[in-house]
Symmetry: C2
């Protein structure tokens, strides 16, 4: 019954890492045991949780490049918050694409690496880099759900079509269980016409409207500031828009899961 | 005497495409003949200039994957603005990394493709995807300068070190002419503590302070709205912060070039 959720969008800077760190934390607050997996070589989710990236720690790159030598139990670390564990990233992960190009089954390396631990958690949420490369495909081979943050700006809205096509192709060729869990509008600023326009398109375009969450994540400087403190915003500042909005997304996620 | 400038930062959403489109246009306003090259498979710079991506047009992917069959003269298109030409992108570009992995000299495909046209321009500015992959390395093999947009947020600041290391490695192994032209703070909002903190770090950290431009690009919704209109902000709304700030960056770029 573990929820396996990828957070993905090829468009950069739409709030993928913010979603992983903050929704992960919001789910932990509601009592879920959460594993955060950082599959971005930029390791922002790792540092956003206050964990130092170090060459001495086993990380997700070791697991997918030398699967026989490491186990995910070695790599998973505790964070400062009880219900949140982390499988940390490392910059070396950016080499995996070219290193694994000849390997059969290279898309399933992550899935095989974490198979023995995922059942220890209620909710596994996975950060991805801003590309549709092998790392993201590895995450799609494992995940049963994809949550798509969509900045309420034109370029990010334009990226949805290719992403939905990619998920459809993964569903046919690699992982029949995968499905889009939802689209969460992010960086929403109701004072701007472009923000209202894009939110309106998400809520009316028949390709996306059934996926679009009711509560957008509003622009909120506390979200950026909390990453500097290495804390999810829900632990950084309990009474701010960011905390409110991520708790609302966690609640809507639970409601939508019930409807399936 | 053509200035060959890459705009790069592995961190997503820092304003690379906005810089290419808007600084390119600002340079055109000051009388320069400008070529914009879009090396991001998401083709945001192409659509940001109002050009439709189409399978019937020769694009930068054709040039680097089948160099014998196409010439850059076939691919370059005019835009709505006199001094601005565009070498458009295409989603197929995302396949180049794996397709070219066996090819010798794969890092020089772009450089060879445009060698015959770059001298027709005063200023060539090149957009890159949010990764340090083969596409970005192709751009670094061609460019003599790299302009680095840095969102005034912690994750973007943290990405600078790896980027500077990559540029150094390219300088030693592939292109001895490459150098960092500058760091332009972006998305600056002086009302936020995190924005002021990051700007302060850029201006005081001895690794970055000499590169950091005096005028940050401020957060300005007209910049996002202009991308919806397929126009650079300098043509979309002459009297807004975005237009002011990009014209100031163009002026500082000219001043810094004079000092070399
Ligand atoms: N709602 C928000 N309001 C203000 N700042 C935000 C918000 N969401 C995220 N941020 C900040 O904006 C920046 C971009 O967000 P983030 O890094 O989470 O995006 P991303 O999609 O993970 O980027 P990348 O494509 O590089 O992985 C970060 O500095 C983050 O802290
Ligand atoms: N100063 C600014 N103020 C407000 N919006 C901006 C600003 N600069 C860029 N934008 C908008 O923010 C979004 C992110 O910027 P942009 O797409 O240029 O970043 P990028 O670095 O090219 O992203 P990617 O990593 O996906 O290529 C876009 O919608 C863009 O129009
Ligand atoms: Mg991220
Ligand atoms: Mg871009």
């Amino acid at each position: 019954n573990t929820r396996l959720m990828a957070v993905a969008n090829e468009k950069g800077g739409v709030g993928k890492t913010a979603m992983v760190v903050n929704l992960g934390a919001a789910m932990a607050i509601t009592g879920k045991k959460v594993l955060i997996v950082d599959m971005d070589p930029q390791h922002n989710a790792t540092s956003g949780l206050g964990v130092k990236v170090s060459d001495d720690m086993v990380n997700v790159y070791n697991l997918i490049s030398e699967p026989a030598d490491h186990s995910s139990l070695d790599a998973i670390v505790e964070t400062s918050w009880e219900n949140i564990h982390l499988l940390p990233s490392h910059p070396d992960l950016s080499g995996a694409e070219v290193e694994l190009v000849e390997e059969d089954g290279r898309e399933n390396r992550l899935k095989e690496a974490v198979a023995d631990v995922i059942n220890n958690y209620d909710f596994v949420i996975i950060d991805t880099p801003p590309s549709l490369s092998l790392l993201t495909i590895n995450v799609f081979a494992l995940a049963r759900e994809v949550l798509v943050p969509c900045q309420t700006h034109p370029y990010a809205y334009g990226a949805l079509e290719a992403l939905f096509d990619t998920i459809e192709a993964v569903k046919e060729d690699i992982n029949p269980d995968i499905a889009v869990a939802g689209i969460v509008p992010t960086f929403f600023d109701g004072r701007t016409r472009v923000g209202r326009d894009i939110l309106d398109r998400l809520q009316s375009d028949k390709r996306y409207r059934d996926y679009t969450f009711a509560t957008p994540i509003r622009v909120n400087t506390d979200i950026a500031a909390s990453s500097d403190a290495g804390k999810p915003v829900v632990f950084y500042k309990k009474s701010c828009n960011g905390t409110h909005d991520y708790m609302a997304v966690a609640a809507e996620l639970a409601r939508r899961d019930g409807k399936k």
